[in-house]
Symmetry: C2
Subunit: 337 residues, 2 copies
C-alpha cells in the first residue's frame, strides 16, 4: 500500500525498484560531459529518418528496445509503458511505442514527463497492478525548435537566457524487485504561474514550480535538504537554477551545492554554446537514465531527489497572450528503503 | 491492493467509488437527446472568452468547480486532478486546472482521456495514496476543427463519415467511499494501427483499438458480453460502432444492442446534421458524467463497460503521411462489488 504524506506526497511502501535504464542521445549530447554514461550516441540527428518528428519516434523505439535488452527481458514482460514528449498530441511517444504492442498510458506534463511517468509507474507497481513498467520521455532539438520557436533554417540568434532542447530518450524499467535503487516517494506538482511570458526564458517560467514542489516535499516528508546527497531539477539551466535556489531560501530552505540541475550537467557551457543549459523532456530523462542511475548503482550517490520540471505552454497559448505556467514532479530515489 | 488479470486488465480490489460527476456542454449538445442530464448548458460557445481555446479552459474550470460543489466539498479536499484534452500541449486542461491549485497529472490518449484518467485515478485511490481524485476530460468543437481540420470560416462541407467534436467537459470525483457505483476493473489499451489515413473517418481509425481492448477485457476477466447491461465505446459514431461490432464478431464475441457508442447517444442524427455522430474527449466524458452516471445511480443500469476511444494523430503526423493509430481504455463500472 502507498500512503499519503501531507498535501502532495505519496510514500511508496512496497519495494519499487528501478531495475534498469537506457538512454539514446543525439550527436551534441554525445560531445558533452555526460557522454560516457549514454547507451547510444547517434551520429545522425535524423536517426536515418526523413523528418525530425519521425526521428524522435525512432529514438523512443530505440531506447525502449535498448532498456528491454539491457534488462534481459522481452517486450512481453512489460506490463505497461508510460511515456510523454513535447510534440503536438504526444506523437513522439505514440509512433515510438506502438510497435512494441504493449498497454500504453500517454502523459503530458511537458519536460517533467519522466517525473510524472515514474510517479504513476511506481504507484502502479506498489498497488500490485503491474510487475514491470517502463517510464520514459523524449525530446528532439529540431522538432522542438520548429514547433515552439522559429524555423531552424532562419538561423535566428538565440537569447542568452535560452536553453538547448536535448535530443534523446531516456527510459527506466520499474519493478517489484528487492534490489535498489528504489523509488520511495513521489511529490505531485501543482501548476505554478508567476506570469512569465518570455518563451526564451523557460528557466524563469519553471523555477517557481520547482521551488514549490521541493518545499512541499520537505514539508510533507519532514525531511531536510541535507537528507539528500543530491537534489537535481530537470531543465531549469543556470538561470532557472539560480532562481529556484533563491526562492527556496525565501521559503526557509537553504540549499547548497548539492542542488544542481540536469540542464547544467548535460552540456559544457563554455564549449557547447548552449547559453543557459539543456532543456526538454529528454534533458532530465537521459541525465537520470545515464549519469544518475550509474551513480546510484555505484553508490557514489545513495539518496537523490529528482525533480523534473515542465513549462505548460503551447505556441497558441503564447500567441493568445497567456503566461507560461510551470509544474514539477519530484521523485525520491534511494539505495536503501 | 489491485491485481493484474491476464495481459491488460487491472482488478481494483479496494472500493473505488464515483461519488459525483459534473458536465458542462455547449449549445448544440444542449439541443441533443441527452440535454436533461447535463449540469450546465452554455448558450455561448465562447463561454464569455475571446478565443475558443480560452473558452475550452474556462469550460474545464466550470466543470471542476461544479463537481466539487455538487459533492459538497472544497477544492482542498481533492488530492489530485487528472485531466487531458486534444489541444496542443494539453493547454485546455492546464489553463482550466491551474486556478484550483491542486496537484495535477496531465494525460494524453486523445479522446480516450477520460478512460485513462479514471483508470489511473482508481488505481491511485485503491493504493491508498489518495482519498479523492478528479478525473476529467474536455474538447471544443471550434478549437478542434481549427487545429485538426480547416478554418471554420471556410465553411467546408463535411464528409458523411465525419463526426462532430463535442464541446464540453466531463468530470468525476473518485473516492474510497463505500457507496457505489464502483470502478471494479480497468483494461489498459494498446495502440492499434490498421493503416487508416482518412482524418475525416476517425470511427474507422479507432474501431480496431476498441475491439482489441474489449476483447482483451473479456479474455482477462473471463466475462462474457452478456455480463454487462451496457457496453459503450467513446466516440466511434455510427460507422465506427458498426466496424467494432463486426470486428468483435470476428474475434468470437457476438455483441448485440446492448453495445452502443457515446457518439451515437449524444446527438440526434436526423435533426442535428452530425453525420456519423459525436466525437472528442468530451463526447465520452460528458455522456458518462451526465447520462450514464444518472442511469447507474437510478439503477436502470447496474453494470457497464465504458470504453473511451482515441485517435493518436497530430496534424503534423498526418501531413508526413503517417497513419492514424487508435487506442481504447476500458473501465468496468458496477453498482455492487
Amino acid at each position: 500500500m502507498a500512503k499519503r504524506l501531507g498535501e502532495q506526497t505519496i510514500k511508496i511502501d512496497n519495494p519499487v525498484s528501478i531495475i534498469n535504464t537506457a538512454s539514446v542521445v543525439g550527436p551534441k549530447e554525445g560531445q558533452g560531459p555526460l557522454a560516457r554514461y549514454f547507451d547510444v550516441v547517434l551520429d545522425d540527428i535524423l536517426h536515418g529518418c526523413e523528418s525530425w518528428e519521425k526521428a524522435e519516434s525512432k529514438i523512443v523505439e530505440t531506447a525502449l528496445n535498448k532498456v528491454i535488452e539491457k534488462a534481459d527481458l522481452s517486450s512481453r514482460d512489460i506490463d505497461i509503458i508510460i511515456a510523454g514528449d513535447l510534440l503536438d498530441q504526444n506523437t513522439g511517444s505514440t509512433f515510438g511505442v506502438m510497435h512494441l504492442n504493449r498497454p500504453f498510458w500517454g502523459i503530458f506534463s511537458a519536460c517533467s514527463n519522466i517525473g510524472q511517468a515514474m510517479s504513476i509507474g511506481a504507484l502502479t507497481i506498489d498497488s500490485g497492478a503491474a510487475e514491470k513498467i517502463i517510464a520514459g520521455a523524449s525530446s528532439h532539438f529540431c522538432s522542438a525548435e520548429k514547433q515552439f520557436r522559429t524555423p531552424l533554417e532562419l538561423g535566428n540568434q538565440r537569447a542568452p537566457t535560452s536553453t538547448w532542447t536535448v535530443t534523446g530518450s531516456g527510459c527506466t524499467i520499474l519493478s517489484n524487485s528487492q534490489d535498489g535503487p528504489f523509488i520511495t516517494h513521489a511529490t505531485v506538482g501543482k501548476i505554478v504561474d508567476f506570469g512569465v511570458v518570455d518563451a526564451a526564458n523557460m528557466g524563469a517560467a519553471m523555477a517557481p514550480a520547482a521551488a514549490d514542489t521541493i518545499a512541499a516535499h520537505f514539508r510533507d516528508t519532514r525531511r531536510e535538504p541535507s537528507y539528500y546527497d543530491l537534489i537535481i531539477t530537470g531543465d531549469l539551466g543556470y538561470i532557472g537554477r539560480e532562481l529556484a535556489f533563491r526562492l527556496m531560501g525565501d521559503k526557509g530552505y537553504q540549499l547548497d551545492d548539492t542542488y544542481t540541475d540536469c540542464g547544467i550537467k548535460i552540456f559544457d557551457k563554455a564549449k557547447q554554446d548552449t547559453h543557459s543549459g539543456g532543456s526538454g523532456c529528454a534533458c532530465s530523462a537521459v541525465t537520470f537514465a545515464g549519469y544518475l542511475f550509474n551513480a546510484l548503482k555505484e553508490q557514489t550517490l545513495n539518496k537523490i531527489l529528482f525533480v523534473p520540471t515542465g513549462a505548460l505552454l503551447s505556441p497558441t497559448s503564447s500567441q493568445q497572450g497567456q503566461s507560461i505556467p510551470g509544474i514539477a514532479h519530484a521523485v525520491a530515489i534511494e539505495n536503501t528503503r
